[in-house]
């Protein structure tokens, strides 16, 4: 169990995630954007590992890097008639940049005024076994609701996208 969070892996993973996010927005090609999203997801999984959240890192790789990226690539393939359609203008708009910048400034002000009670990561964190125990005791009801939500979303997705009419 790491006693604290080292700076070097954090900087590497943060740079990787920022690069991935920026390239999703700045890619001319939709397929390239999907692969940069994959890189971003893997970097976030690494950040979760750094934060001793092993289970979430696994879920991140399986759900996001695996399922979501494949789903996005399939949709790109199904909605493009020609190879050239993947190339597209960047669509960067100044009002959107202004809104995003305003949110960033507001978030920065909140973060700057944030005084953490603890400056360093606690040495001991519960492992994956404790996560599983809490999931089936304290968090059992939300867990069951989540499974119903996923089932309904699955049926709804088939309902919307499938069918002849």
């Amino acid at each position: 169990m790491p006693e604290s969070i080292a700076a070097v892996p954090f900087v590497v993973l943060a740079a990787a995630s920022l690069l991935g996010a920026a390239m999703v927005v700045l890619s001319h090609n939709v397929v390239h954007a999907a692969f940069w999203l994959l890189e971003f997801m893997m970097a976030v999984a690494g950040l979760f590992m750094l934060l001793s959240a092993g289970f979430l890192a696994l879920v991140q790789i399986m759900v996001y890097a695996g399922a979501v990226t494949v789903l996005l690539l399939f949709t790109v393939m199904l909605t493009l008639r020609h190879r050239e359609d993947a190339e597209r203008p960047l669509d960067l708009s100044w009002p959107a940049a202004g809104i995003a910048l305003a949110v960033l400034v507001a978030a920065g002000a909140v973060i700057a005024s944030f005084r953490p009670a603890v400056a360093h990561a606690p040495a001991v964190t519960p492992g994956i076994a404790e996560f599983g125990r809490l999931l089936f005791t304290q968090w059992a009801l939300p867990f069951e609701i989540a499974s119903v939500v996923l089932l309904i979303a699955l049926v709804g997705a088939v309902w919307w996208s499938g069918g002849e009419e």
Binding site: A6, A21, V24, T79, A107, I111, T125, P126, A153
Partner: protein, 103 residues
């Protein structure tokens, strides 16, 4: 040298704003959904980091992040199904060409 919660919060804020900028400015529905995923991931980083630093024993932030992942997975599945239905009906996924309701 060690990294505190503020570094993670700053990273999450930056990622969230990149995603917000993309979601607001992109005209392809698929790219907007990708940028929404960037935003949910930024929120998850924040939750897991604050859980690690402030309430490490209860894992509350990790559970919140796990349930956000569930909702985000449902959202991307339904969103892409909508994009496919839209493509079947209108032969386009460009959001600025979906102007039937415009007066």
């Amino acid at each position: 040298m060690v990294v505190g919660p503020v570094a993670f919060m700053a990273l999450a804020a930056l990622l969230f704003c990149i995603g917000l900028f993309g979601a607001l400015s992109k005209k392809s529905a698929v790219l907007v959904l990708m940028c929404l995923e960037l935003m949910t991931n930024a929120v998850n980083i924040n939750l897991v980091a604050l859980s690690r630093f402030l309430t490490p024993s209860s894992l509350a932030g990790q559970f919140a992040a796990a349930f956000i992942m569930v909702v985000a997975a449902a959202e991307i599945g339904l969103g892409l199904a909508l994009v496919l239905a839209l493509y079947k009906a209108r032969r386009t996924v460009e959001l600025d060409r979906l102007d039937r309701l415009k007066g």
